[in-house]
């Protein structure tokens, strides 16, 4: 075989392999989504979205309180995680370099790698025990801690993508440095940052372990921010390990709803990003 032909053959083989890899990944994905949809769709009904959980053997139970609970938890998590991650990322992008930046980035990576159960246990010791009971706030803190590293990294990356010319133009017009950052750089990178933040929220929306010892769970509506609250992932977990087929069906339905919500959030985030802004990568 001539060298040229061999090289072309190698190229075709390797490309076929990479297409094979992608096909594998995609087929697993589609299988997963299909399985969850198949299992969940039959249990979805209006009562799922409007009713409270019913005891065993009674039909018509739903997860309305879990839906609201997940929403409240995400709001609380956003209030903690987004400011810390966002402003930390701003610091790293605009002023960070050198040892301090290295330390903060390293700490964020480590925080990202801490298993969610350990975060839950730590927040239990630091928040729940002093207060004296489980609460939505504690659950929000635990989820917020998980958002911080992701928010930090995506803020830093998208701010770095803002072209230097924009900064220089603002400085040339006489703006102080903080004004340059707040009024020019951040708005420029905002769409990408917003995407990253939405994705971070979407990811923690599905976390169970940090909530087990912080937000606990609640059979009823949870009032305010200091009572325990139900949430979709915890309900999925509770129902999945119960002996009743009816509850298993509800667990699948809840999984499907969670997936659909995250899909929706992703779509919105992508749509917002595509709408345009000064920053557009090849992606």
């Amino acid at each position: 075989m001539t060298l040229a032909r061999r090289r072309r053959l190698v190229e075709r083989v390797m490309f076929a392999l990479s297409v094979g890899c992608m096909a594998t990944a995609l087929s697993v994905l589609f299988f997963l989504l299909g399985y969850i949809t198949y299992q969940g769709i039959s249990s979805l009904s209006l009562s799922f979205f409007t009713n409270l959980p019913a005891p065993v053997g009674e039909a018509g139970g739903g997860m309305a309180n879990a839906l609201l609970g997940s929403l409240k938890l995400l709001i609380a998590a956003a209030c903690l995680g987004i400011p810390v991650g966002f402003l930390g990322g701003v610091y790293l992008a605009e002023y960070g370099g050198g040892k301090l930046g290295f330390l903060v980035r390293y700490a964020a990576d480590v925080l990202n790698g801490v298993p969610s159960i350990v975060i839950g246990i730590t927040v239990y010791a630091l928040v729940v025990r002093p207060i004296g009971h489980f609460s939505t706030l504690a659950g929000g803190v635990a989820l917020g801690l998980m958002i911080i590293p992701v928010a930090l990294r995506s803020t830093e990356e998208f701010l770095r993508l803002v072209p230097a010319s924009l900064r220089e133009a603002a400085i040339a017009l006489g703006a102080p440095r903080w004004v340059v950052i707040v009024r020019v750089v951040i708005p420029a990178g905002m769409r990408g940052i917003a995407t990253g933040l939405v994705l971070a929220l979407a990811r923690v929306a599905g976390e169970t372990a940090p909530l087990l010892f912080t937000a606990f769970n609640n059979r009823y509506w949870s009032e305010g921010w200091t009572q325990p609250t139900a949430s979709l992932p915890v309900m999925i977990f509770t129902y999945a390990i119960a002996p009743y087929q009816d509850w298993h069906d509800q667990a699948w339905a809840a999984g499907l709803v969670l997936l659909a919500l995250v899909l929706g959030a992703n779509l919105i985030a992508r749509f917002v990003l595509r709408r345009g802004g000064p920053i557009q990568g090849r992606a």
């Binding site: 019913a54 005891p55 065993v56 053997g57 609201l68 929403l71 409240k72 709001i75 729940v128 025990r129 004296g132 009971h133 489980f134 087990l212 606990f216 769970n217 609640n218 059979r219 009823y220 509506w221 949870s222 009032e223 305010g224 921010w225 009572q227 325990p228 509770t238 999945a240 390990i241 119960a242 002996p243 009743y244 087929q245």
Partner: protein
């Protein structure tokens, strides 16, 4: 975002946060064993007293004890009574109140064997890895005339700490000196052999899926999932199936000699029809409840539970309490003081 949008967002947050009824919320945590019954009870009680919401979460017996001791819940529930050290460490003395009786059943997956009988030493031997094949002589002795497959046994146990494990190992400790020496009793033990499933559901799943498996689950899981249950030989020499009657029989002798603090183990009981692996399950209630509203509601619930509540037990395959025990408990309720004094 414009200032008005921030405003609206803040309003939204406050509204969302404030949603809820005005009812009083009482939090409890503990055993998964009686969870189906408890969820029924708390719901029925809520229908009677709609301003009381009792939120019970089944995080496990040990979890219930711990949360009660740390004061993060108003009451606990456990399949295993608290130890003396745990009781000593409680800020307020804790009352154990038995609620129902339940059974832990060995279940197995053998396509060719319809009924399996096991003696106590055989059961211990399987989980000690002394008996490793289904056609072992000991199993054959328990099952005369039955063809047993020549397959290796796959024991299955709980990977998470649990009251179910406590009850099962409590029984094995009583019937097998070797088990007592090398493994002991507890919500988690160092199993000599076997796969670990998470929760009763995990064990059920493993047994259903793994041929030649044997494990232990609560009765309700075996019934709901139509698992084959083994008959166990009790102290009187009879092979007994787990039913409401046999479980009630197991409590009979204990009921006669119930200690004042209600902490008693009824595994391996005397009695011809008694099921050997049965247990009370307890609600753990502090004897001094500062919040008068909550305390009143809890006492009211307990009173209801001992009378009307017991009627919900049998349909869900739990055995109701013997009447002598109910009478003792009703007297014990007076020990719970409510309010500031």
């Amino acid at each position: 975002m414009t200032r008005r949008r921030w405003w609206l967002a803040g309003l939204f947050v406050l509204t969302v946060g404030g949603l809820g009824r005005g009812a009083m919320l009482i939090n409890g945590a503990g055993a998964t064993f009686p969870y189906p019954l408890y969820s029924k009870w708390f719901d029925e009680f809520h229908k009677k007293q709609s301003d009381v919401q009792i939120n019970y979460q089944s995080i496990g017996s040990g979890g219930g004890i711990r949360q009660l001791l740390e004061g993060t819940v108003d009451f606990g529930a456990s399949d295993a009574p608290m130890t003396d050290e745990q009781l000593a460490s409680a800020k307020v003395p804790v009352l154990h109140l038995p609620t129902v009786l339940g059974a832990v059943v060995p279940t197995y997956n053998l396509a060719s064997v319809k009924t399996l009988r096991l003696g106590p030493e055989t059961l211990a031997g399987i989980f000690l890895a002394k008996i490793t094949r289904w056609d072992d002589a000991a199993i054959a002795r328990d099952n005369p005339g039955v063809t047993l497959p020549s397959e290796p046994i796959v024991p299955v146990h709980r990977s998470d700490g649990s009251g179910t494990t406590y009850i099962f190992t409590d029984y094995l400790t009583k019937v097998s000196p070797e088990w007592q020496k090398s493994v002991g009793r507890g919500p988690s033990v160092n199993w000599p052999v076997g796969l670990g499933g998470k929760g009763n559901e995990g064990v059920t799943g493993l047994i259903q899926q793994t041929p030649n498996a044997i494990g232990y689950v609560e009765l309700i899981y075996a019934l709901q999932n139509k698992l084959a249950m083994a008959d166990i030989r009790n102290r009187a020499g009879e092979y007994v199936k787990p039913t409401i009657e046999s479980v009630t029989a197991a409590a009979a002798s204990a009921a006669a000699n119930m200690p004042a603090d209600f902490r008693v183990s009824i595994t391996d009981p005397a009695g011809k029809d008694a099921y050997p692996i049965a247990s009370f399950t307890w609600l753990l209630v502090p004897t001094r409840i500062a919040d008068a509203g909550k305390g009143g509601a809890i006492k009211s619930f307990l009173g209801w539970m001992l009378t009307d509540g017991q009627m919900h037990a049998s349909p869900l395959h739990y055995a109701p309490l013997p009447s002598s025990v109910v009478a003792m408990e009703q007297a014990a309720l007076a020990k719970i003081t409510v309010g500031g004094s």
